[in-house]
Amino acid sequence: MSDSHSYPHEPTGVETRKLGMWVFLSTEILFFGTLITTFMIFKGRDFPGIKLSDVYDIPFTSVSSFVLLMSSLTMVLAHNALENGDQEKTRVWLLSTAMLGAVFLAGQIYEFTEFYHKGFVLSSNIFSSTFYVLTGFHGLHVFIGVVLLIALWSIGQRQNGLSLDGGMNLEFVALYWHFVDIVWIVLFTVVYLI
């Protein structure tokens, strides 16, 4: 009789890896919280030099934000498809999410390049420092997310599809992806709109 049946599991009733993922995400709150707080401390301070409001393009960023929001929809549809056992649909939605994420990243890169040409560079002043490091870390997280999504998609292609347990898991990548989205929801408001 295998030992895994007699050894007790999960007295909390929550699956261990899911619990681990939520604990991780709770700590990411502190990570991005620090970045956002730093940005907010300096925003609006009376210091000479170029500011974000001198260079940004709200319509463009709004479209980017919408793209990222919609990627959360495709992500949740991918999860839904897997729960219903539809491997092919899962892969389609996974790829869509990755592509939307890539579009968002492309938008960020384009924006940053424009800002750079207008003289708003990393080392300009405190406003540029806080802006680039905050949005840069977010972008890095999006990039990692896209890599994870493509990895999941390719695992789904090779073996006989993905399973809901074992190995790299779609549900946890989904949680990570949504988290990256909610950070942007806060960022967009705090950095661009207010």
């Binding site: 009789m1 295998s2 030992d3 895994s4 007699s6 050894y7 007790p8 599991h9 999960e10 007295p11 909390t12 929550v14 261990t16 619990l19 681990g20 604990v23 991780f24 709770s26 700590t27 990411e28 502190l30 990570f31 620090t34 970045l35 730093t38 401390i41 300096f42 301070r45 210091f47 030099g49 990393l122 080392s123 300009s124 002043n125 405190i126 406003f127 540029s128 420092s129 806080t130 680039y132 490091v133 870390f137 990895a151 695992i155 074992g166 190995g167 790299m168």
Partner: protein, 653 residues
């Protein structure tokens, strides 16, 4: 017949590691006990290094107007002493205890994520090596036209901005060269190790407890591990960002802490101490846990007020997040903040006091056995109390402005960190020695260690209280004859060498006893918690079958009943029970599944120092190597199943 499942299928490009002995088995291990042992030895090594750094400082300060160390070397030594002791000695030794004991105390086979556990260890090793490589490759320059314009020796080419790296002093303008980058990036790497451990332990405590191990039946050491893990999880992300800011300011031209660019140096202090204060509770809570295990065992009495101790522990952790700016009373923070933090700092003394009273209540009326673990735990209570009292005096803001940057502060934190955390750790090392190695340490040498250390410790740090109040400033490489500080500084330095002697006694005891110590048996202390119900040394599978826990101090209650006056009475069944436990513990009847060893944690971890060097030396090739190692490690890991799949055939074998 027992079958331990061996990895037998090719589950990836390379065959899974399968050795059980030899160096590869240690490199690929995911066994929490082995990881704990490796943490312990590595941490002890760094403790010795940090101790030597301290001795060098004390030689310099043993007499006035000394020039044993140059100013540059002195700055490097005190910075590295603090950084090493905190991040490379005490935190990893605590990790050693958590790793070894946590699964045993909750009745589990291993932690929730065994490979992640190995990853934490290897990241710590690579981080420590990276930090110390500063002595080989680092450069600590002086600002142009600055006081220290002379050539800096190898000994001085290390981080020299204090373990707290205050900005802008530790920024590129005033600390040119690469040494402070080794510091910032080294700490960043080490932080990742602890953060990953924190998730692991939180998840383990929540989800890997054995049958009947309800929360209020867990040993206090397990509870303290839980609290420490929360502190780590929520404070490390803040310092991670702060360290990124430092590195970006130094390397990439940002101005987070530079007023020239609109930045704010006080922001560094806020972010650093938002982490730094929870950090000191991270350092002391494990010792609180250890002492809470040792005192009841050596008093043959249950812990007094178990729920109070548990809640006080969490109270300290929680309030610990709300006192950080008491490190900033002398910086330009607003008076409202000073008042608020002074108040919260006084409040945190309350749950700490609760614990002290409960420990006293535990030993009161007990049948005390003055073995070495008990001596250190009693010493802990006394020394930590003194340190705590001087800490409360810091809470009074006007008094603190007198004490700040003097040796009074140095006295305070060494009483709580050495007299507190280290004494607690030594108590634990002696207490669990027989469980880990199956042999008993030498009691006489243990007592010699204790008394030498007590005397040396108090001689070293006691006089610092009045030296500080008389005006001796911290972090200063020399003091003049006219200050009249020479006599007590000499006493302090002598005390430091007595401490060193006591450590040698400890090491001799350890080495000798591991080889030639008498066999210990699985319950030499007649202890209370379930890790003592399994053989010594601990079998690789821990428990032969999942224990079923019926109460707090379950093992004690299996052995003892209580008479009308509450005194323990040995049950008739106890002797037979102990024999049965021993036989069962060594000969499991069920098949046992153990997590498989893996190459990928060490591979992944090895990528991080490459990234560190890449940032410092602006080297794209190094960065690529680092990223590749991380990717290979991650993908290998992600596609490697932890437990081989069971088929119907193997089940019926």
């Amino acid at each position: 017949m027992t079958k331990i499942i061996q990895p037998n299928k090719q589950s990836n490009i390379f065959k899974r590691p399968s050795s059980e002995t030899g160096i590869w088995s240690w490199i690929t291990t995911v066994d929490h006990k082995r990881i704990g042992i490796m943490y312990g030895y590595a941490a002890f090594f760094f403790l010795l290094v940090g101790g030597i750094e301290a001795l060098l400082l004390r030689i310099q300060l043993a007499s006035p107007d000394n020039n044993f160390l140059s100013a540059a070397e002195y700055n490097a030594m005190f910075t590295m002493h603090g950084t090493t002791m905190i991040f490379l000695a005490i935190m990893p030794i605590s990790a050693a205890f958590f790793n070894y004991l946590l699964p045993l105390q909750i009745g589990a086979r291993d932690v929730a994520f065994p490979r992640l556990n190995a990853l934490s260890f290897w990241i710590f090793i690579f981080g420590g090596v990276f930090l110390y490589s500063t002595f080989l490759f680092g450069t600590a320059g002086a600002p142009e036209g600055g006081y220290l314009a002379e050539e800096v020796s190898r000994l001085g080419s290390a981080p020299n901005g204090g373990w707290f790296g205050y900005q802008p002093n530790a920024g590129m303008k005033y600390s040119p060269g690469t040494a402070m980058d080794y510091w910032a990036i080294g700490l960043q790497i080490l932080g990742i190790a602890s953060l990953v451990s924190a998730f692991n332990f939180i998840t383990t405590i929540l989800n890997m407890r054995t049958k009947g191990m309800r929360f209020m039946r867990m040993p206090v050491f397990t509870w303290m591990t839980f609290a420490v893990s929360f502190l780590l999880a929520f404070s490390l992300p803040i310092i991670a960002i702060a360290l990124f800011y430092v590195t970006f300011d130094r390397q990439f031209g940002t101005t987070f802490f530079l007023t020239e660019g609109g930045g704010d140096p006080i922001l560094w202090q806020h972010l650093f101490w938002l982490f730094g204060h929870p950090e000191v509770y991270i350092l002391i809570l494990p010792a609180f846990g250890i002492v809470s295990e040792v005192l009841p065992t050596f008093s043959r009495k249950p812990l007094f007020g178990y729920p109070a101790i548990v809640f006080a522990g969490f109270g300290i952790a929680f309030i610990g997040f709300g006192v950080w700016a008491h490190h900033m009373f002398a910086s330009a923070i607003s008076p409202v903040a000073q008042a608020g933090f002074g108040l919260s700092t006084m409040v945190i003394a309350v749950p700490t006091g609760v614990k002290i009273f409960n420990w006293l209540g535990t030993i009161w009326g007990g049948k005390l056995s003055m073995k070495t673990p008990m001596l250190f735990s009693l010493g802990f209570i006394g020394m930590f109390l003194i340190g705590g009292l001087s800490g409360v005096t810091h809470a009074i803001v006007p008094a603190d402005t007198q004490q700040t940057d003097t040796y009074y502060v140095v006295a305070h934190f060494h009483y709580v960190l050495f007299g507190g955390a280290m004494f607690g750790i030594f108590s634990g090392l002696y207490y669990w020695f027989p469980k880990v190695w199956g042999k008993m340490y030498n009691e006489t040498l243990g007592k010699i260690h204790f008394w030498l250390m007590m005397i040396g410790f108090n001689l070293t740090f006691g006089p610092m209280h009045w030296l500080g109040l008389q005006g001796q400033v911290r972090r200063t490489w020399v003091y003049a004859e006219e200050t009249n500080l020479a006599f007590w500084n000499l006493i302090v330095s002598i005390g430091a060498f007595i401490i060193a002697l006591s450590i040698l006694v400890f090491m001799a005891n350890w080495i000798y006893s591991r080889r030639k110590g008498p066999e210990a048996g699985f319950d030499p202390w007649d202890a209370r918690t379930i890790e003592w119900s399994i053989p010594s040394p601990t079998p690789v599978w821990n428990f032969s079958k999942a224990p079923e826990v019926k109460s707090l101090d379950d093992f004690w209650h299996m052995k003892y009943d209580e008479d009308e006056e509450g005194r323990p009475v040995k049950r008739d069944t106890t002797d037979a029970l102990l024999l049965e436990l021993e036989e069962e513990g060594l000969n499991p009847k069920e098949d046992i599944e153990l997590p498989n060893p893996s190459y990928f944690p060490i591979i992944l971890a090895s990528g991080l120092p490459f990234l560190g060097y890449a940032v410092i030396y602006k080297s794209l090739p190094l960065a690529i190597v680092g990223v590749l190692l991380i990717l290979i490690g991650s993908f290998g890991w992600g596609t490697e199943p932890l437990e081989e799949e069971f088929t119907e055939d193997t089940e019926n074998e």
